[in-house]
């Protein structure tokens, strides 16, 4: 496949990733944020498939497949299941106003584009705008984690952040060794399982969310 077309496609997927990220930051319902993160993972899987076609790297096909099944289907399903189990109909609870969060999100995006523009020759080796998009996703994921009170929304932020790292790694290295990618994915699955169990346990024993835990006194 023509290298310029690959760059264009990766660029466009980057735009869609940023779009889903803004939806996650601005979502007023947690289920919507979860669907957005699922779509984000789907786009990353597509990006993996495109890179696999371009480079002929078989590992990337495997990684795209794993991303699709685990991150785009299994983990969102787990989160939605936890929501149903906990019967959370509430909107996400932000620490600072939503508009302030959105402003911060834009600042992160502009900042990461500005910073990676100054990288110069390093940037030439990387497909399209993948590096700034990846950095922006990572920072915005951290932003979501920092500005939400409920554990489930923070998990969504963690997944988005992880997606950013994954996307950067994939686009920068044209495919990491398979064993590393699988290790990362297993880490994510384990973290998701542990966190879900923790959240359900905390909820069932003390009927509080993690934001209430800082009022605990020994």
């Amino acid at each position: 496949m023509n290298i310029e077309i690959v760059h264009a496609v990766i660029d466009d997927l980057g735009a869609l990733l940023l779009f889903t990220m803004i939806i996650i930051v601005g979502a007023s319902q947690i289920s919507r944020a979860i669907y957005a993160v699922a779509f984000q993972s789907l786009f990353i899987a597509i990006a993996g498939a495109v890179l696999a076609m371009a480079t002929g790297n078989v590992d990337l096909w495997v990684i795209a497949g794993i991303t699709l099944t685990v991150k785009a289907i299994a983990l969102p399903w787990l989160l939605l299941w936890a929501i149903r189990r906990m019967d959370v109909k509430r909107e996400v609870e932000p620490v600072i106003p939503d508009l302030a969060t959105l402003t911060l999100a834009v600042m992160f995006v502009v900042m990461s584009f500005h910073l990676s523009a100054s990288l110069g020759s390093v940037r030439q080796a990387i497909s399209g705008n993948a590096l700034p998009v990846g950095i922006a996703l990572t920072l915005n994921g951290v932003l979501v984690m920092a500005t939400r009170k409920t554990a489930l929304s923070q998990m969504v932020g963690l997944f988005a952040s992880e997606n950013g790292i994954f996307f950067t790694a994939m686009a920068v290295t044209k495919g990491m060794p398979l064993i590393i990618e699988i290790g990362v994915i297993l880490d994510v699955i384990l973290a998701a399982l542990v966190m879900t169990i923790m959240v359900l346990r905390v909820r069932s024993t003390v009927d509080a969310d993690i934001a209430d835990l800082d009022r605990l006194r020994g």
Binding site: D11, G14, L18, I22, S28, D98, L99, T103, V106
Partner: protein, 313 residues
């Protein structure tokens, strides 16, 4: 900047927009009705409403000044003038200086201002309420629309809508840059707000708590109300036309009569796609609380800003 589009075609395009405006509203209402398992009124119903209103007498509030009479005419005139700037059957700039996308947005803003002034002039409580709400929403929508226009204009190097549409007409979907996607996303977020639809405004209701645009029309009656309704139909199709000119890749093509007919067909398809989008959004979302509207529009703002930033950086 001048091109080779003659005055006649510009006038024909303007006429097409005014004539098709109510049809778009009718189609949206029909789709909505079918999605709600209702039969719904025919798609020509807005025309019947307009004809009925134009044949009625006028009742005016005692407190209204003489200016109130001319409001519907002025609003209709500014909206139709905005329609002249939208490329419909043929792309490319007109043969004489007419105005660009900023002029279009300015005319739409002027129409909105006149509507609000009329609502305040009549002295009704609902009119004032509607006007104040509309004026709260407008500053959030208009700058973002301008940013979307700028984002596209930066790539082409002109704010002339005809040139923008021509450029888009020759570019394939794979030639879309990342900024185009973000701009389109921002446009899709803004469309319901600019056309006065759910989740920002509810066009079907006269319930005091929920209305923005309808509240401002309450004091008008008879032919005046007809003009205001026609103006809002036209405004809707003009906004859709703006979105189509900025983003849809199948641009108006060709010359001669067949070219014009082909252009008209593609335009109809583009508008139909956007109308179906609006109907789907309106059927699947609830109207937002007024205080949540800024957050919804904030998403559009962020997307437009990113799109602009991506173009510049």
């Amino acid at each position: 900047m001048t091109g080779d589009k003659p005055l006649g075609i510009v006038l024909i395009e303007m006429g097409i927009l005014v004539i098709l405006g109510p049809l778009v509203t009718g189609i949206i209402q029909k789709i909505k009705a079918r999605l709600q398992n209702r039969q719904g009124a025919g798609i020509l119903q807005p025309y019947f409403d307009l004809i009925k209103l134009l044949g009625k007498g006028t009742v005016q509030a005692d407190t209204a000044s003489g200016f109130f009479h001319s409001i519907p005419i002025l609003v209709l005139a500014t909206t139709v003038a905005a329609g002249a700037l939208v490329p419909v059957v043929q792309s490319g700039p007109p043969a004489f200086p007419l105005g660009d996308a900023l002029m279009l947005l300015g005319l739409l803003a002027l129409a909105r201002f006149l509507t609000a002034v009329g609502a305040l002039d009549a002295g009704g409580a609902f009119g004032g309420m509607g006007a104040s709400r509309e004026m709260t929403i407008a500053p959030l929508v208009e700058p973002v629309l301008m940013m979307v226009v700028f984002s596209t204009a930066l790539a082409v190097g002109s704010t002339e809508l005809g040139i923008l549409a021509e450029q888009r007409g020759t570019s394939w979907i794979l030639a879309w840059r990342a900024a185009d996607f973000l701009g389109l996303a921002a446009m899709l977020v803004l469309l319901p707000a600019e056309t006065g639809r759910i989740p920002v405004d509810n066009p079907d209701t006269h319930l005091e708590l929920t209305m923005l645009h309808e509240g401002m029309l309450l004091e008008h009656s008879g032919p005046g109300l007809g003009c205001m309704l026609l103006a809002s139909h036209t405004r809707q199709i003009v906004t859709l036309g703006l979105a189509a000119a900025l983003f849809f890749p199948i641009g108006p093509v060709g010359a001669g009569v067949t070219g014009l007919l082909l252009g008209l067909c593609t335009f109809a398809v583009k508008i139909l796609v956007l109308a179906v989008y609006l109907a789907l959004i309106e059927s699947s979302y609830a109207k937002l609380r007024l205080f949540q509207v800024p957050q919804y529009l904030g998403i559009g703002f962020v997307l437009a800003l990113m799109s602009l930033a991506l173009r510049i950086l």
